[in-house]
């Protein structure tokens, strides 16, 4: 704007200067011309004066000539003519005075000339009188005095002086006029050149200015096109209205939704293209913007071809360079989706079993879901009306404030925090919190874990009891292990000592009895050992590592060499996969199963024992098949029970604990055991282990 103004100023200044120069040139021209005209007049005036002066000489000569004629001839005609010429001389003098009134010098000379002429006329008239009265001689004598001739010479010289003066004046005037004309010419030329230069500069300025304007116009058009292009691709409805509410511009989105092109819409009002009640609302906002001169934001309904949709609109005034409002603009965004999403969230918010809340750093809840009433008894209003800390158990307040501070100050999430809140009925409820800070607020969910806590405490208590029981059991087992076996050992020991030192004093029966006592003691020892193992398998912790069952099987088979010795057994050992298990326990499993297979195939020659594994549904299923005495499937359910035996001890020794052990160990590893068999048809025992560790602990 500043530049433009200065350019304009320059142009105006240039024009003014150029006009002034032209005016000066004109004025100078005018004056020069006037001078020239005046000078011409003066020349002709001078000529007239000179001519008049010369005609005066002729007249005077003529008067003298006529007078002389009269004097010589006395002819009256000459006298008359002389007198007429004298009258002309008077007229001539008058004329001359009139002609030279502007020139005081000529007038002075004329003042001197007039008396001379009058005197001459008087001399002439005297001679005439002499001729008339005294005759020719008297007149001739008078002429001979040469009085008249001297006068005449003075007159001649006076007239000549006047003529010279006039000519001199003329010359002077002509020179002045010429000089003035020359000066004027210089001024005119300079002025014209200046005017031309200024005019040229002005033209250049104007042309440059016009070019700049063109460029600005072009850029303006480009930026308008850019704005329009942007507005056309904005997913919102955009429109401009003049103060009377007539559309000036609408974007493409507007066109699509209204079904009218921008050319159709231009000049129309919202009443022309929308429903009356919607148009009235829009119009009110339009007026409000103009009245308040401030933007307004509001929700409105926009009519789409498929029905009305909620929009968030902002309308704001547009001002011209002078700050005056000339139009309003509106931007209206479809919020159907966000509104729906919000409503969905609101539904979940209202539905949640946990209570959801937003808390502010000022210590109050800003919003809380209705679940708070179910959990704490307070209405939402009651809950919002008091600082939240006032609901917290006094012992938990410090910790609660620390958590709040952590969020507000450090911006940390709180993933697990528990405190007690007062129920409206006066009881305390344990709430488990999860909270994140955002924008100075805390967004939190609170779960009522009172019952859960109670249950947990109960479980902990029961676990404690169980542990105590286990401890007792352990102590009991320890005693059994140590104390119960001691007497057995003593029985056996002393029986052996008797056998050794006093056998010869006993008869056959006595020796047999001693044998029975020793066997009973040994059986009871085995029983106690098996029971202890069983108990230990239940109590000791599992230490799972990767185990190769093949090596366990090999170890077990090696350890059975004493029993296998002298027998023919066909072993079929398949490939066994690695499993995650407690190696000592898994070894116990194989020891029991392989031991059984060896034991119950004792009557077979050869015995066949096959060990293998199949992968199935996330678990490994191991099996051990033998061609031994088998069992009756109707008692299969008893196989894995403690002290349950399907064979008599006389046939096959055993305590009835081995398979119970197997079952317990496999169960603890998260697997299953089962068996298949037939009397005298062999038996197959299966057990499964999960491929990944999912077994129960403890």
């Amino acid at each position: 704007m500043v530049m433009k103004a200065s350019v304009e100023n320059k142009i105006v200044l240039g024009f003014v200067a150029s006009v002034l120069a032209l005016m000066g040139v004109g004025w100078l021209s005018y004056r020069t011309t006037t001078n020239l005209v005046a000078s011409e007049q003066w020349v002709s005036h001078t000529h007239e004066v000179v001519t008049t002066l010369e005609s005066g000489l002729a007249m005077l000569t003529d008067v003298e000539t006529k007078q002389r004629g009269y004097l010589l001839t006395g002819d009256e005609q000459f006298l008359k003519d002389c007198q007429a010429s004298q009258a002309q001389v008077d007229g001539w003098l008058k004329q001359l005075r009139a002609l030279t009134t502007d020139n005081p010098r000529q007038q002075q000379q004329l003042d001197r000339l007039e008396p001379l002429i009058s005197e001459r006329m008087a001399v002439l008239n005297n001679r005439i009188k002499l001729r008339q009265e005294q005759g020719l001689q008297a007149a001739a004598d008078a002429v001979a005095t040469r009085e008249g001739k001297n006068l005449m010479d003075e007159i001649w010289s006076g007239i000549s002086t006047m003529r010279d003066t006039e000519n001199q004046l003329l010359f002077q005037r002509q020179q002045d006029a010429q000089a003035a004309a020359q000066t004027s010419l210089i001024f005119i030329l300079t002025g014209s050149a200046l005017a031309c230069a200024i005019g040229l500069a002005a033209i250049l300025f104007i042309r440059r200015d016009l070019r700049q304007r063109e460029q600005i116009d072009m850029r303006l058009r480009e930026s308008q096109a850019l704005i329009q292009s942007i507005l056309d691709h904005v997913p919102a409805i955009v429109y401009l209205k003049d103060l009377e509410g007539r559309y000036l511009f609408v974007n493409r989105r507007f066109e699509q939704i209204s079904g009218c092109s921008r050319d159709e819409v231009r000049g129309k009002t919202v009443f022309d293209i929308s429903k009356k009640e919607l148009a009235q609302v829009a119009d009110e906002h339009h007026r409000k913007v103009i009245a308040t001169q401030k933007p307004v934001e509001f929700e409105e309904t926009v009519l789409y071809p498929d029905g009305p949709r909620p929009h968030l609109a902002v309308k704001f005034p547009l001002r011209d360079a002078g700050g005056k409002i000339y139009a309003t603009a509106g931007i209206s965004t479809d919020i159907t989706e966000s509104k729906r999403a919000r409503e969905e969230l609101d539904r979940f918010f209202a539905l949640s079993l946990d209570f959801l809340c937003i808390a502010s750093a000022d210590g109050y809840f800003k919003r809380v879901s209705p679940a708070v009433t179910d959990i704490l008894g307070w209405s939402v209003e009651e809950f919002l009306s008091r600082p939240f800390i006032s609901f917290v158990h006094p012992d938990d307040q410090a910790a609660t404030l620390r958590e709040v501070e952590k969020q507000i100050v450090a911006g940390e999430k709180v993933l697990q925090f528990e405190n007690r809140y007062r129920h409206k009925n006066g009881s305390w409820r344990v709430l488990s919190w999860r909270s994140i800070p955002y924008g100075g607020l805390m967004y939190a969910t609170a779960r009522d874990v009172t019952e859960q806590k109670r249950a947990e405490e109960e479980i902990i208590r029961q676990k404690g009891e169980l542990e105590a029981t286990n401890k007792e059991l352990e102590a009991f087992s320890y005693s059994v292990s140590h104390d119960l076996r001691a007497p057995l050992r003593h029985i056996d020991g002393f029986v052996k000592l008797i056998e050794k030192q006093a056998a010869e004093k006993l008869d056959e029966r006595g020796r047999r009895y001693l044998g029975i006592i020793a066997n009973s003691a040994r059986d009871m020892g085995n029983l106690i050992d098996d029971l202890l193992v069983f108990s230990r398998m239940s109590r000791t912790e599992l230490h799972r590592i990767n185990v190769a069952p093949e090596s366990l099987v090999d170890e077990v088979v090696d350890s059975l060499q004493g029993e296998i010795h002298g027998r023919r057994i066909d072993w079929k050992l398949g490939v066994l996969p690695q499993v995650e298990a407690d190696p000592s326990m898994l070894r116990q499993v194989w020891a029991n199963l392989i031991g059984n297979a060896v034991k119950y195939t004792r009557p077979r020659e050869p015995a066949e024992i096959e060990i293998g594994c199949n992968a199935d549904n996330g678990e490994f299923v191991f099996h051990i098949r033998d061609n031994g005495v088998g069992f009756d499937m109707q008692y299969a359910h008893k196989l894995f029970g403690v002290f349950q035996r399907l064979h008599r001890a006389e046939d096959f020794e055993g305590t009835g604990i081995g398979l119970a052990n197997v079952q317990r160990i496999v169960h603890r590893h998260g697997g299953r055991v089962w068996a298949d068999g037939k009397v005298d048809g062999g038996a197959t025992f299966f057990f499964s282990l999960p491929k990944t560790k999912t077994g129960t602990k403890g």
Binding site: H482, F494, V495, K496, M524, D529
Partner: protein, 151 residues
């Protein structure tokens, strides 16, 4: 000449003592055994105090400890021995009825030299005790300050 008592047996049970001695007799080691009836007596013997004040025997070449004894149990005796610079090198063998893992672990943590479970079967027991006596009292070269086998 009274043979030197080179084996200390700490065992509260008479019958076990008798059976153990019977077993050691097989190697003619029974006479070299001094019996403490509980842990406190075993420590008294080592420190030559109480009932054993002023005994002329030197330090035993091996101590056989029962685990479970009145007053001071076997583990405590072991602990005190290992904490005492005079006794810390004496070989100690736990001879016990307990197969409990925790006893085993605890014993080895305290620095036991061997851990033997008394079998119920006397024949096996006999073998075990014979082997213990044979190894520790005859085969093994005891640390300096203990008594070597006479002759």
């Amino acid at each position: 000449m009274t043979p030197l008592k080179r084996i200390l047996l700490a065992e509260d049970n008479d019958r076990d003592v008798e059976l153990t001695l019977a077993a050691l007799e097989e190697h003619n080691l029974a006479n070299e055994v001094v019996v403490a009836r509980d842990g406190a007596e075993a420590l008294d013997y080592l420190h030559k105090r109480g009932r054993f004040a002023g005994h002329a025997n030197g330090l035993p070449v091996v101590v056989l400890l029962d685990l479970k004894m009145p007053k001071v149990d076997g583990l405590e005796v072991l602990r005190q021995m290992r904490a005492n610079p005079d006794f810390k090198h004496i070989p100690v063998v736990m001879v016990t009825s307990s197969r409990e893992e925790q006893d085993l672990v605890r014993s080895y943590q305290l620095g036991v030299n061997a851990y033997v479970v008394k079998p119920v079967d006397f024949q096996k027991f006999l073998e075990s005790v014979k082997q213990i006596g044979f190894f520790w009292a005859i085969i093994n070269e005891p640390p300096p300050g203990t008594m070597k086998r006479a002759g």
